[in-house]
């Protein structure tokens, strides 16, 4: 419908200028825009560190989240004037209206998007109080009063990244709050599951009814959501998303038990490697005993002496060697460790 003649296109400026911003669109977001059901994205900012109600304090930085990706927003100013124009019909007196172009808004800043490949774990650990069972009683677990959704909205990462961290921490909702379990709690729950499975003849390696296992440990008073969270964490991939049936992934469960066992040990005591391995085996289903080898938890432990073992990332020691890889994992256990020490 281009109707341009020698006289050109009338160009005008609307008096009441709006303000737009421009945002650079990477191919991934363009693909979302072109997809038949474009999702709603979100711009998130980390909640101000001071837990005040004043929403006026501006957060340090903001991120743009698609369902699976996160981009940090960086604002770029230009010294030029950038206008957004739209088409208008302009007329002079009695003459026929002519299609023209009119600047309706200025765009003083452009937002650059930089992909962020962070883990949600540090944010979630800050946001989620530790759910800790000591002597079978829940200790000092004052809830944060936040649902999972609310917690996610405060993490400057995409939902998929939050979900991954949530699952990794075996976080769960309980009594209107969200928690992450301590290593001690996880170990207790795992022991209960392992014992109950043996008693009830449930083969954890094969497909079993989630409900059967839940019933078997029902009287021990674990939050049901914690039970489901642990199962989801250990489930074989083909059962993720289906809560009725479960089977546990041997490759995931064996190292998980070893790691949890190690992390739940008080740090100030020497743990003999041989005793640890034996205890690890004892806490696995009979069929999996032989899988308990240090190889499977590579990078997660250190050997302070030739006969003792300790979880990595607990203290200054061992930070030199093995600082590569599993960086987030070592941080992850650090807090649990510190907390265990405080007790």
């Amino acid at each position: 419908m281009a109707t341009q003649d020698d006289s050109g296109i009338p160009f005008s400026v609307v008096h009441d200028q709006q303000q737009f911003r421009l945002v650079e669109l990477p191919p991934e977001i363009l693909a979302l825009i072109d997809s038949p059901n474009a999702p709603i994205l979100s711009i998130k900012s980390q909640a101000p560190p001071t837990a005040s109600t004043a929403s006026s304090s501006k957060p340090a930085y903001a991120v743009l989240c698609t369902p699976t990706q996160t981009y940090q927003l960086r604002q770029v100013q230009t010294s030029n004037s950038v206008f957004a124009t739209k088409c208008v019909l302009t007329s002079h007196g009695d003459s026929m209206p002519v299609p023209g172009v009119s600047a309706i808004a200025t765009c003083p800043t452009t937002l650059e998007l930089h992909p962020v490949t962070g883990t949600a774990i540090p944010y979630l650990k800050d946001a989620l109080p530790l759910y800790d069972l000591v002597d079978d009683e829940m200790v000092d677990a004052a809830g944060n009063g936040k649902s999972k959704l609310k917690v996610f909205s405060d993490v400057p990462l995409s939902d998929a990244q939050c979900e991954w961290g949530w699952r990794e921490l075996i976080a769960f909702e309980f009594a209107g709050s969200s928690f992450r379990p301590s290593a001690v709690t996880l170990l207790k729950l795992w022991k209960s599951i392992n014992v109950a499975a043996l008693a009830e003849g449930i083969d954890l390696n094969k497909q079993f009814l989630t409900e059967d296992l839940l019933k078997a440990i029902d009287d021990e008073g674990y939050p049901v959501d914690l039970f489901h969270a642990l199962l989801l964490r250990l489930a074989a991939d083909d059962h993720v998303g289906d809560a009725t049936w479960t089977s546990m992934d041997r490759q995931i469960t064996v190292p998980f038990v070893g790691r949890t066992l190690l992390a739940s040990e008080p740090s100030n005591q020497d743990l003999h490697t041989a005793i640890f391995i034996e205890s690890w085996k004892d806490n696995l289903p009979e069929l999996w005993r032989d899988d308990a080898k240090l190889d499977t938890i590579k990078g997660l432990y250190i050997l302070p002496t030739s006969t003792t073992i300790s979880i990595k990332g607990g203290d200054d020691e061992g930070s030199g060697e093995g600082s590569k890889g599993a960086g987030s994992a070592s941080r992850k256990w650090h807090e649990r460790f510190a907390r265990a020490r405080r007790r």
Binding site: M1, A2, T3, Q4, D6, S7, G8, I9, P10, F11, S12, V13, V14, H15, D16, Q18, F20, R21, L22, V23, E24, L25, P26, I29, L30, L32, I33, A38, I40, L41, S42, I43, K44, S45, Q46, A47, S55, L64, S79, N80, S81, V82, F83, A84, T85, K86, C87, V88, L89, T90, H92, S95, V98, P99, G100, V101, S102, A103, S153, D154
Partner: protein, 146 residues
């Protein structure tokens, strides 16, 4: 509330925009386009504005694509090298049409149903018109006003 929803442009072209006089390449579904220039436009205020039919805008001049014709093929991009913006009758800026390295989303606020703040990408723009040089004086020969 630290999380603000950002809506992407949908395929809902319920309101037809006014006829688009720009070259096809610069046309977008909503009719939005980007124009960049050095310096600022000192547009006359509503009171100073020349009497025109529309009191909401100030007429600045004309936009001319001298090398463009509707018969120009898609693959022929020579016309992009030259754009004129006549400001008033005696000044002209020379510019060009540039393909953006990364397409830009035009981001605007939109009122949410619950009065909260929401954002919206109104349009994806892939080209912009850029005038990077200062205006130069010209004679009054391109007086397009009929």
């Amino acid at each position: 509330m630290p999380s603000v929803p950002l809506h992407l442009p949908g395929a809902n072209s319920s309101t037809l925009p006014a006829p688009n006089p720009l070259p096809t390449l610069l046309q977008t579904p909503s009719g939005l386009a980007l124009l960049e220039l050095q310096g600022t436009i000192h547009a006359p205020t509503a009171e100073e504005s020349v009497p025109s039919a529309d009191k909401s805008l100030a007429e600045i001049g004309k936009l001319v694509f001298p090398l463009y014709s509707e018969l120009t093929g898609q693959e022929d991009t020579k016309w992009m090298k030259r754009v004129y913006l006549y400001v008033g009758k005696h000044q002209r800026m020379t510019g060009e049409v540039k393909k953006l390295g990364k397409p830009l989303g035009v981001l605007a606020r939109r009122k949410a149903e619950d009065d909260g703040e929401e954002l919206e990408i109104l349009e994806v723009v892939r080209y912009k018109i850029v005038f990077s040089s200062r205006p130069e004086p010209v004679g009054g020969e391109v007086d397009g006003a009929a």
